[in-house]
């Protein structure tokens, strides 16, 4: 729903780090906004950004996914602080979320991971190995479908035994198999020399 959409707009081309910095600045601005007119202006700028990025078609989806949030926020605000506040607070959240979503829509996962890795470079002095961080994240992304598939298999096995609704009966086998997979993966990484020092001469 809210993931990268390939394209060639200026936002797609802009380096991920610049986009993240811009987003941070945008967030500060949105926070400072506190009248309905200013909200409207911020919303206008956001729509304009979507337009120039060629992402307008994604805009309704983004907003629609916030429907429950908006309903709950408006209800609460109207009850506690009145209509004007409801518009400002809800508007702020919607604009912020939709703006952040634009960065995700125009930036590939690998590019964001690269930014993470570079941001962590200076932490080397704190003994953080940024290459390893990148590897953990790549393996974590890979683990999502693997564990989801394990979960589907365990669920099938439970259903075949007619065991509906027992969370314990579901979660224990799932976690055991997750651990087994993790440890087999760890073993493969060791065997492939992840922990070994680089050979001195070659």
């Amino acid at each position: 729903m809210n993931t990268y959409v390939p394209g060639r707009s200026w936002l797609h081309i802009l380096p991920a780090s610049v986009k993240l910095a811009g987003l941070a600045a945008g967030m500060v601005v949105v926070l400072l906004v506190d009248s309905p007119a200013e909200i409207a202006a911020a919303a206008g700028v956001t729509v304009l950004l979507y337009l120039t990025a060629g992402m307008v078609r994604a805009l309704p989806v983004q907003v629609w996914s916030l429907r429950w949030l908006v309903a709950a926020l408006v209800a609460l605000q109207v009850l506690t602080s009145g209509w004007a506040a409801a518009v400002v607070v809800t508007g702020r959240v919607v604009v912020a979320v939709v703006l952040a979503g634009l960065v995700t829509l125009t930036t590939r996962v690998v590019d964001l991971l690269d930014v993470f890795e570079r941001v962590l470079q200076p932490l080397r002095r704190l003994r953080v190995d940024s290459e390893r961080v990148a590897l953990v994240l790549a393996l974590a992304i890979r683990a999502v479908p693997v564990v989801t598939a394990l979960a589907a298999e365990v669920r099938d096995a439970q259903r075949a035994r007619g065991l509906r609704g027992s969370v314990r009966a579901y979660a224990v086998p799932l976690v055991v198999r997750t651990l087994r997979h993790a440890d087999a993966l760890g073993e493969a990484l060791v065997a492939r020399g992840l922990d070994d020092p680089a050979p001195s001469a070659r």
């Binding site: 259903r159 035994r161 065991l163 027992s166 086998p173």
Partner: protein, 224 residues
């Protein structure tokens, strides 16, 4: 009796099963074919784990679409990895788990659990922690926990893949001796010799169907 009527099933991009029809009445039925040919998906049709996009599957006349619960009670399923199936801490508890909501009294439950364990030779492990069993014993436990519910049909998806020769033989012998109809998916062509009927899948299509010798011959020819 299992009737598969013109089943096509798949996901957005690709069909995993295409126009498969078969009426299975034989006592011992095996399903073979290459990796990804659709064997597991086919087997999962029988107890409604997979409900086909098109077509219908009937077990003793009941559709898996409209009578899911009854069908599931009639059709037991054993998976490849016993660790996905074992849910309770001890052997006897795991076997008893499937009888929970049958409204049996305690004595009757105990009796049935003991009988099922004896049938596969696990009775001496009744109070043994299930996870300390060997791989082969775990698979026997999984089988036993399914048999205790007295299904009319037993479907097994590669039940011996993780086992050694002795355990494989043990599981196959027990399957061979069951009164139930058995449908077994396997890559082990040596094990299907005694079966009544063998189905061969290739890319989602049922390409051969007959006695073991013919069907296995067809499969070998496919591989080239």
């Amino acid at each position: 009796m299992i009737e598969v009527r013109d089943v096509t099933h798949g996901f957005a991009a690709r069909d995993i099963l295409r126009g498969v029809s078969a009426t299975l009445t034989e006592h011992r039925i095996a399903v073979i074919g290459a990796n990804g040919s659709g064997k597991s998906t086919f087997a999962r049709l029988f107890n409604g784990l997979v409900v086909p996009r098109e077509g219908e599957v009937l077990v003793d006349g009941l559709s898996t679409r409209s009578h899911a619960a009854e069908v599931r009670r009639a059709v037991g399923f054993v998976f490849t990895d016993p660790d996905a199936q074992i849910v309770m801490p001890t052997v006897a508890e795991d076997v008893a788990f499937g009888l929970r909501r049958r409204g049996l009294d305690r004595e009757e439950t105990r009796r049935r659990v003991f009988a099922a364990m004896s049938a596969v030779g696990l009775e001496i492990f009744a109070d043994h922690p299930a996870h300390l069993l060997s791989g082969g014993q775990k698979q026997l436990l999984a089988l036993c926990s399914v048999l205790v519910t007295e299904p009319r049909v037993l479907v097994c998806d590669e039940p011996t893949t993780l086992l050694d020769l002795r355990n494989t033989r043990r599981v196959l012998d027990i399957l061979q001796g069951l009164p139930q109809q058995v449908v077994m998916v396997t890559h082990d062509l040596d094990s299907v010799g005694g079966y009544d009927r063998v189905l061969v899948f290739d890319e989602g299509v049922l390409v051969a169907d007959g006695p073991p010798a013919t069907a296995v011959g067809h499969y070998r020819a496919l591989i080239g």
